[in-house]
Amino acid sequence: MTLLSTRGLSRNFGGLKAVDNVDFDLPAGEVRALIGPNGAGKTTFVGMLSGRIPASAGTVSFDGRDVTMMPAHRRIRAGMAYTFQITSVFSRLPVAENVALALRWRTGDDLAATDRQVAEALDRVGIADRADQLAGDLSYGHQRLLEIAMGLSQQPRLLILDEPTQGLADSEIVDFVALIRGLAGDMTILLIEHNINVVMQTADAITVLNFGSVLASGTPSEIRNNAAVQAAYLGTG
C-alpha cells in the first residue's frame, strides 16, 4: 500500500525551480532516505509534503486522499509528523511540556494519558531523566533527541525527519541509528540525511534528488553503484 505519493510536484522561487516535477511514492512501513547535494531541493520537497510550503504545481496525496490544498496543521492531525532541520524546540518551556504539546490534541483533558505518553516518548529517546529541565538548557544533542521525541509522541503514520543527525557526536549517531531501526515497522519514515553511513544502516530504499529532480531511486546497493549518483556527488570532472 502506498502511504504517500506525489505527482508532478514543483516549486519555483522566482525563476529558480527548487523542486521540478517530482513523482514520488512511499509504501507504508518503509524507511526511505532522501539524499542529494546541498541545494538539491530536499527541504523544499518535504516542506510541500508537510504543508509548510505551498506547491507551485502538482499534487500530494496521503493515505489515499489528495492533501495538496490541506493546511499544515490538518496534515499533522491526519498522521504526519515533521521534525525540523534547525532545532526548533520551545526552549523556555520544560522538556515534558514540549512533548505534551505535541500530543495533547490527541489526549485532550486526559492528564494521566498525557503524562504517560510524554514519559514513554522521552524514555524511548533516552532523556526521561530531563523531563523537568527547560528545553533550552539541554545540550544540542539532547535537543535533537527531544525533537524526535516530539515527533514520535504524535504516533504518526509518517515521520519526516529533516537531517536529524546534523551536529550529533558519533556516539549519539550510533544511538540514533538504533532508535530508527527500532521504530521501523511501527511507522513509515522519510529521512533526509547527509551522513551516508546512517543512510546505509537505516534505509530500506533511497531517493536521490539533484537540481530539484529525482536522479535515482532504489535500494542502498543500487544507489551506491549508480553512475549518475556518483557523478552528482563527486562531479563529472
Binding site: 496543521h73 499533522i76 518551556l93 492528564l111
Partner: protein, 319 residues
C-alpha cells in the same frame, strides 16, 4: 514530571484565592481614600488581565485595546443613557459590543503580524476614538456624560455606594482571575504560550494558529470590554478619553511592570503604577519625572516585571 502533578495546581489556586480573600478583608480596614482607589485599581486590573491574555500569553502586542475598553463602556452607557436600559442588560450590551468589535478586529488585524499588527490595532483604535468624537451628539465626545445614580442599580444593589462598589469591583476581579487561571491551565492556554514561544513549531504540531489567535483576541477584547463597562457603571461616567491612545498604552505598561504572562502581574502592575503616580504627585508637580524614573529602573533591573521576577527567582510554579 512535577509540571503535571496536582501540587502546583493546588498551590496556585490557594495563592490566588488567598489574594481575593485578602482584598475582601481590606475593604473593612482601608481608609475611605484608599478604599476608593482599590476599587478603581481592581477594575483597571481586569482590563490589564484581558490585555495580558493577548500580550503576555499569546505574544501579540496590541496598541489598540482602548477600543475594546471603550466598546464595553459605550455599549453599557449608551444603552442606559439613550435607551433607558437598566444596569444588568446594559452590562451585557457592553460585553456583546466588546465581543463583536474584538471578533471583527481580530479577523482583520490577524492578517498581519509583528509591527504591522501593532500599527493596524493602533489605527483601528484611533478610528474608534474619532468615531466617539464624531458622534458627539450621543457620546458628548471628550466631555463625556455622567450616568445618573438612579441607573446604577444592579439586582437592587446601589452600585454608587462605596462599599457595594468595592464588592462589585472585587467580584469582577475574582471572575477575571478565575477565567484567566482556567484558560492558562487548560490545553488552550498552553497552545497560546506555545504560539508565543514558537509559532511555526506549534503549527507543525497540528494546531490551527489562526483560530487560536482569534480566540485569544476575542477573549482578551471581551474581558477588556467587561472592565470598561464596569468602570462606567461603578464610577458613573463615560467619555471619549477612555478610547484615546493613552488608554491603549496603560494596560501595556501595567502588564510590563507587573509581569507579562503571569496571572497576578496585571493587578500588581496596576496597583504599583497607580500609587507611584499618586504618591509622587504629592511630592512634586513633576511627578511624571519620578514615575518615569521608577519605570526605567524597573525595566532595567526587573525586565520580567515584579511578579515575573518573583517567578524567576523563587516561585517557578507561578502561573
Amino acid at each position: 514530571m512535577s509540571m503535571f502533578l496536582g501540587s502546583n495546581l493546588r498551590k496556585s489556586w490557594t495563592l490566588h484565592i488567598g489574594v481575593i480573600i485578602l482584598l475582601f478583608a481590606l475593604q473593612f480596614i482601608l481608609p475611605a481614600y484608599h478604599h476608593g482607589n482599590l476599587a478603581r485599581i481592581m477594575v483597571l486590573a481586569c482590563y490589564a488581565m484581558g490585555y495580558n491574555i493577548l500580550f503576555g500569553y499569546t505574544g501579540l502586542l496590541s496598541l489598540g485595546h482602548a477600543l475594546f475598553f471603550a466598546a464595553g463602556m459605550y455599549g453599557m452607557s449608551l444603552t442606559v443613557q439613550h435607551l433607558g436600559w437598566s444596569a444588568g442588560p446594559a452590562l451585557l450590551a457592553g460585553l456583546a459590543a466588546g465581543f463583536a468589535v474584538a471578533l471583527a478586529i481580530g479577523l482583520l488585524a490577524l492578517r498581519t503580524a509583528g509591527v504591522a499588527f501593532m500599527i493596524v490595532t493602533l489605527m483601528f483604535a484611533q478610528a474608534g476614538y474619532l468615531a466617539a468624537l464624531y458622534f458627539g451628539e450621543y457620546t458628548r465626545g471628550d466631555e463625556g456624560f455622567v450616568i445618573q445614580q438612579s441607573f446604577r442599580q444592579l439586582a437592587g444593589v446601589n452600585l454608587a455606594d462605596p462599599t457595594n462598589r468595592y464588592f462589585a469591583a472585587l467580584a469582577l476581579f475574582a471572575i477575571c482571575v478565575v477565567v484567566s487561571l482556567r484558560v492558562v491551565q487548560a490545553g488552550f492556554g498552553r497552545v497560546l504560550v506555545a504560539i508565543r514561544e514558537n509559532e511555526e513549531r506549534t503549527r507543525m504540531l497540528g494546531y490551527d494558529i489562526h483560530r487560536h489567535k482569534l480566540a485569544a483576541v476575542v477573549l482578551s477584547g471581551t474581558m477588556s470590554a467587561a472592565a470598561g463597562a464596569a468602570y462606567g457603571l461603578l464610577f458613573g461616567y463615560a467619555g471619549a478619553t477612555f478610547a484615546s491612545v493613552q488608554y491603549s498604552i496603560f494596560p501595556l505598561l501595567w502588564v510590563l511592570l507587573g509581569g507579562a504572562g503571569t496571572i497576578l502581574g496585571p493587578f500588581v502592575g496596576t496597583l504599583f503604577m497607580f500609587y507611584l503616580i499618586d504618591l509622587s504627585s504629592e511630592l512634586t508637580t513633576a511627578y511624571m519625572l519620578i514615575a518615569g524614573f521608577a519605570l526605567v529602573m524597573l525595566t532595567l533591573f526587573a525586565p520580567q516585571g515584579l511578579v515575573g521576577e518573583l517567578r524567576r527567582r523563587a516561585l517557578r510554579w507561578l502561573p
